[in-house]
Amino acid sequence: MRDTMGIIFTGESNISLQELTLRRSVAALPFGGRYRVIDFTLSNMINSGITNVGLITQNNYHSLMDHLDSGKQWDLDRKSGGLFILPPYVSHDNTGWYRGEIDALHNNMSYIRRSPQKTVVISGSSMVCNLTFEDAMEFHRDNMADITVIYKEDKKATNEELSRHTLIRTDESNRVWDIEVKPAVPMSDKVSMEMYIIDKRLFEYLIEECAARGQYDFNKDILIKNLNKIRILGYPYDGYLAKIDSVQSYFTHNLELFSSENFQELFHHAGPVYTKVKDEVPAKYGDHAVAANSLVADGCVIEGHVENCVLFRGVKIGEGAVVKNSIIMQDSEIQEKAVLENVILDKEVIIRKGRHLIGQECYPVVIRKKAVI
C-alpha cells in the first residue's frame, strides 16, 4: 500500500449533532473514552500502510489541528509524505471557502499531482470503524474497477437513519447502478461509508472536469453523473461500524462499546487505534468506588458509582455520586452525591454537589463545554 495515498475530508455537515459540534468538526468529536473520531480514519490508513495523508479541513478546524499536531502520534511525521493539513485559502481564483469536496480537491491539485502514489483512498470522517484497505484494494484491482465504494449493508437501520446517508444499489456483480444522497424515502440499506478507492490519474481528470464545469459535489457530480460511463463497484464491509450522524447515534455507539465483541472489533481488529498522548496518570478508584460495565480512561479519579458509562481522560466522580448510561468527556467533574443518567457531558463541565440530571435513553441530555451546573 506504499503506492497509495490517503485523502480525508473533515468538513461534514453536522447540524444533527447540535451542541457537540458547535465549536468543532465531527472529525474532532471525542469518541470511545480517549479518541477523537478522526483517530479511527487516520489509524485505518496507517494500519493499511499508507504514509502520505492529506487532510482537508473546512470549518472549526482549530481543535482538529491542535489534536493532530505534526502527525507524530500516528507516525506521520515523515520526510517523504506524512500528514498534510489542507485548509481553505484565498488566492486570485479561490474564495477562501471550499464550495464542496471537489472544490477542495481542486484547490489542492498541486499536492495531489506532486504525490508519487498511483492510487488514492478517499475517506470522510464520520464513520468509526477499524479496518485496513488492503482487501478492498485487492477487490478494486481484481475487478478492474475505476472507483470502488466501500459500503455496509445495514439491515437494522431505520428509514430515518438511512436517510441521513448516501445509499447505493448494486447488482450481483457488485456494480453500483444507483446512488441516492440523503433520500427522503430510502430505496436501499447499503450505506456508503464515504470511503473510495480510485486510480490517481482518473481522479485528477475527474476533478479537473468537474471543477471546469463548476461542479463541486463528490457524490453527485463524480459518482452519480458517471454511473454509466465508468466502472463503479461496491465493496461490502461487514465489521463493526459506528455512523456518527446525530446526538442519538453518538450516544448509542459509545455505549455499544461495552459489548466485548464491539470492543474487540473497534479497538483491536485490524490494528491499534492511535491518538494524541496526554501523559495522564492511571485511573484511580477509591474505597467506596463502584464501577460496572464502563470504559475508563487514564487520569480519572472515581470515588462514586459508575455504571454503563464512558469516562474520558481526567474525569472526576465524587463520593456518593451516581452516574449511569452517560458519556463524560475529558476533565469534567461530577461532585459528591450528584446523580446523572442518560447524559452527555462535553469537556470540562462541572456538576455541583447533589445536582440531578436525568435524560431519557432515547433523548440524552447534552451539556455544553465548560458549563457549570
Partner: protein, 411 residues
C-alpha cells in the same frame, strides 16, 4: 559551539540484583512502576521539568529493554537538535575496552561526551529512585554557595539513619563529614546519591581517581571522601518531599502501594510537574458488569471481570471472572484467568496465570489477616511465564522460567 550550562549523567547500568527475577532480563531503571511508568521516567521527567535537556544515560547491564524504551527520548521531550538524551554504553578503545567498573569510572569513560557540551556543571543522577525534584533549584543553591559539589540530602527518620550515607553539616549546610552507614549517627541527613559538580573540579578528581591504585572508582566511596579530605567546598542541598530508593522487592512494593493512599505523598496529578512515559497504544480500560474495583490503580488496555482491591494494574492486564487480586502489582500485559487468587504478589510483564490458581498461598488463611497484610513476604513471579490452571504458589516465593515447576505447592 554548543554550550550547555549543565549536563545530566544518569547512572543506569546497575544490575539491581536485589530485585531478583524482576531484573533477570532487564536493567533496574526499566522496571515498571506505578501503573504506567518505569523507574527511569522519574529522573528523565525531572530533568525535562527542571529545564535540563542534555542527558547521558550510562547503561551496561541488560540494556535492550531500556534502550528501546528511551529511544530518541520523544516521550520526555528530549528529542532535541542540540543535546537531548544519549545512551552511553561501555565501548572499545584503541588498545582495549573495559566495562564500567564503578559509578565514577562510568563518568570518566565518557568525558568526551560531557566536554562536547562545554558545561559548567554536571548533575549525577541514579536510575533507581522514585521522586519529583526540581534540579534547577539545586543548581541555583549550588551557584549561590559557590560550591564545588552539592549533594542532595533528605532528612530520614533517626532510626533509619544507620542505613544511609550520612552527611554531617554546619548551620550553613556546608558538609564537614561524611559517614557511610554510621552506627551512632549524629545527623539524619542522608545522601540521595544526587550530585552537582563543577565540571572542571570533577574532571580533575576523576582523572586522579583513575590513576589511584585500589580505588573502587565510586562516587560515594572514593570521590566524595577524597574531596572532603582536600577540604573542597561541599554543600548539602536539603530536599523535602517524597523520595524512595526502590532497589529491593520490599521497597519497590511499598513505593507502589504508597500511591494507593487517599492523598499520596507523591502527587502524580500535578499538571506543572508531569511524569512522562512512553504510552502504550491501548483503549481505555473496561470494567465489566460484576467486577469489583476498589482502592486501586488501573490503566489503559485493562479488562477487568473480577475483584481488584488495593492493587496496581499496568496496561493491558486482564483479570477473569471470579478472580481476586489483593495487595498486588500486575505489570504490563499480565493475564489472569478465572477464579484465581493473587495476594501480596508482584507479577512481571507478559506472564499468563491460568484458572483456579492461588498465588501467595499460605497455610492458614484469615480474611482480616489478608486485608492487613503489610506486604511482608511478597511473592514474585518473573516475566513471560505461563502458569497452568490450578497452579499454587506459597507466599514469599520468587519464581522464574527455570524453577516455577519446582515450587508448585502441593495442596
Amino acid at each position: 559551539m554548543v554550550t550547555k550550562k549543565c549536563v545530566a549523567m544518569l547512572l543506569a547500568g546497575g544490575q539491581g540484583s536485589r530485585l531478583g527475577v524482576l531484573t533477570k532480563n532487564t536493567a533496574k531503571p526499566a522496571v515498571p512502576f506505578g501503573g504506567k511508568y518505569r523507574i527511569i521516567d522519574f529522573p528523565l521527567s525531572n530533568c525535562t521539568n527542571s529545564g535540563i535537556d542534555t542527558i547521558g544515560v550510562l547503561t551496561q547491564y541488560k540494556p535492550l529493554k531500556l534502550n528501546s524504551y528511551i529511544g530518541i527520548g520523544q516521550p520526555w521531550d528530549l528529542d532535541r537538535l542540540n543535546g537531548g538524551v544519549t545512551i552511553l554504553p561501555p565501548y572499545m578503545k584503541q588498545t582495549a575496552g573495559e566495562w564500567y567498573s564503578g559509578t565514577a569510572n562510568a563518568i570518566c569513560q565518557n568525558i568526551e561526551f560531557i566536554e562536547a557540551y562545554h558545561p559548567e556543571y554536571v548533575l549525577i543522577l541514579s536510575g533507581d529512585q522514585i521522586y519529583k525534584m526540581d534540579y534547577s533549584a539545586m543548581l541555583e543553591f549550588h551557584e549561590e554557595k559557590n560550591a564545588d559539589v552539592t549533594i542532595a540530602i533528605l532528612e530520614v527518620p533517626w532510626e533509619d539513619a544507620g542505613r544511609f550515607g550520612i552527611m554531617n553539616t554546619d548551620e550553613d549546610n556546608r558538609i564537614y563529614e561524611f559517614v557511610e552507614k554510621p552506627k551512632n549517627p549524629i545527623s539524619n541527613k542522608a545522601s540521595m546519591g544526587i550530585y552537582i559538580f563543577n565540571w572542571k573540579k570533577l574532571r580533575q578528581y576523576l582523572m586522579e581517581d583513575q590513576s589511584t591504585p585500589g580505588s573502587s572508582n565510586d562516587f560515594g566511596k572514593d570521590i566524595i571522601p577524597k574531596m572532603l579530605k582536600d577540604n573542597e567546598s561541599m554543600y548539602a542541598f536539603p530536599f523535602k518531599g517524597y523520595w524512595r530508593d526502590v532497589g529491593t522487592i520490599q521497597s519497590l512494593w511499598e513505593a507502589n502501594m504508597d500511591l494507593l493512599e487517599e492523598a499520596p505523598e507523591l502527587d502524580l496529578y500535578d499538571p506543572g510537574w508531569r511524569i512522562y512515559s512512553r504510552n502504550p497504544v491501548e483503549p481505555p480500560h473496561f470494567i465489566a458488569l460484576g467486577a469489583n474495583v476498589r482502592r486501586c490503580i488501573i490503566t489503559e488496555g485493562g479488562i477487568i471481570y473480577g475483584d481488584v482491591y488495593h492493587s496496581i494494574l499496568f496496561s493491558g492486564v486482564t483479570v477473569g471472572r471470579g478472580s481476586k487480586i489483593h495487595n498486588s502489582i500486575l505489570m504490563p500485559n499480565v493475564k489472569v484467568g478465572e477464579n484465581t487468587i493473587i495476594e501480596n504478589a508482584i507479577v512481571a510483564e507478559n506472564t499468563v496465570i491460568g484458572d483456579n490458581c492461588y498465588i501467595g498461598y499460605r497455610a492458614h488463611t484469615d480474611e482480616d489477616d489478608m486485608m492487613d497484610a503489610k506486604g511482608n513476604e511478597i511473592t514474585v513471579i518473573g516475566e513471560n511465564l505461563v502458569l497452568p490452571s490450578g497452579y499454587k504458589l506459597g507466599k514469599g516465593i520468587m519464581i522464574d522460567s527455570d524453577n516455577f515447576l519446582a515450587y508448585q505447592a502441593v495442596v
